[in-house]
């Protein structure tokens, strides 16, 4: 049955309109792996203030959204100090789970005034962001955080 009317397993074929050639499949596989290596784990934008912290948007590898089992929890512990915590384990669409391991992060201040920020990777699934004014005094800010 293999390739008879193209059920899976897909028989690689050089006919571009109706098949997938070995060379095209090879390029897709290599490029997808390359893209995965540098793709952000998540990007999110939040605002911290005296009233707490508001998560405006969160786009992660597992979903687009701010309210679900996989959305990060944001906690403000002091002026400008926000802890972003992701679930320890995340499952893909096939319910195959993997443990998160954050390798890096970068924050950008939103707004039109100068300021500083510092990133601390607290654990494999959490990042602490500290924001300051341009003099180095702690200050609440709107922040876009990218996590790898």
């Amino acid at each position: 049955m293999l390739g008879g009317f193209a059920p899976l397993p897909l028989r690689l074929s050089p006919v571009a309109r109706t098949g997938w050639s070995a060379s095209a499949h090879a390029r897709a596989a290599a490029d997808l792996v390359a893209a995965k290596r540098t793709a952000p784990l998540a990007v999110l934008t939040y605002t911290s203030s005296g009233g707490g912290v508001t998560l405006h948007n969160c786009w992660s590898m597992v979903e687009i959204g701010t309210v679900s089992a996989y959305a990060p929890t944001l906690t403000r512990s002091a002026t400008g100090v926000v802890l972003v915590t992701f679930p320890v384990q995340v499952a893909d669409e096939y319910d195959i789970s993997g443990t998160l391991c954050i390798r890096g992060a970068r924050a950008t201040l939103n707004g039109t005034t100068a300021g500083l920020r510092a990133i601390e990777i607290v654990s494999p699934n959490s990042v602490r962001v500290r924001t300051f004014d341009s003099s180095g005094v702690a200050a609440d800010r709107k922040v876009t955080l990218k996590v790898f």
Binding site: M1, P7, L8, P9, N57, M61, E93, D95, N110
Partner: protein, 181 residues
């Protein structure tokens, strides 16, 4: 185009693994697995590929730009490079004369620029979808201390980027790398 691709273009972040051919119960036809891995792609591979592709597409930046502000001789910023989901530049361009499909950039004041995107773009199959800014980051390039900030309205088309020196004042002729989602 004889077929229309499933789902919507990547920057809408709307396509899921099923749009790429994934299925939670994906299986090889009649349980027959791959006979020759050099010539066959099995359900297991399709399942992993579709899930990983959906994951990467969710967080991929829509555009990454390398820009230099022109303040000493006030002019539109110079755009050194743009890597967009819809295409990449190969040569520099002045921000006020972008090639078709690439964002325009304007000088606001010293160290401060705007980048304007289109409200709609087309994917490789000519499928159009709306675009609006949801996230943005910037990084000051160079050898001196400083900082940067981005400003945009969620869903809007204009990103304002400000660069500052170590004292928090506007930084003339700043150069930076900017990402938008």
């Amino acid at each position: 185009m004889t077929i229309t691709p499933n789902g919507a273009p990547s920057w809408t972040r709307a396509a899921g693994f099923a749009d790429y051919g994934g299925d939670a119960n994906k299986a090889n036809y009649q349980g027959q697995g791959v006979v020759n891995p050099k010539t066959d792609v099995g359900a297991e591979a399709v399942a992993r590929l579709t899930s990983d592709l959906a994951a990467v597409v969710r967080t991929a930046p829509f555009a990454t730009l390398h820009i230099k502000c022109n303040d000493s001789s006030p002019a539109a910023p110079t755009v050194y490079a743009v890597l967009m989901q819809t295409g990449v530049t190969t040569v520099d361009y002045p921000g006020d004369a972008p090639p078709t499909g690439f964002p325009a950039c304007a000088r606001v004041s010293a160290g401060k620029i705007t980048i304007t995107f289109s409200s709609s773009y087309q994917d490789a199959y000519g499928v159009a979808a709306a675009y609006g800014i949801t996230h943005a980051t910037a990084a000051l390039n160079g050898t001196s201390a400083g900082s940067e900030a981005v400003s945009f309205t969620e869903g809007g088309l204009v990103l304002t980027v400000s660069f500052f020196n170590a004292a928090g004042s506007a930084l003339s002729d700043a150069e930076g790398t900017i990402e938008v989602w």
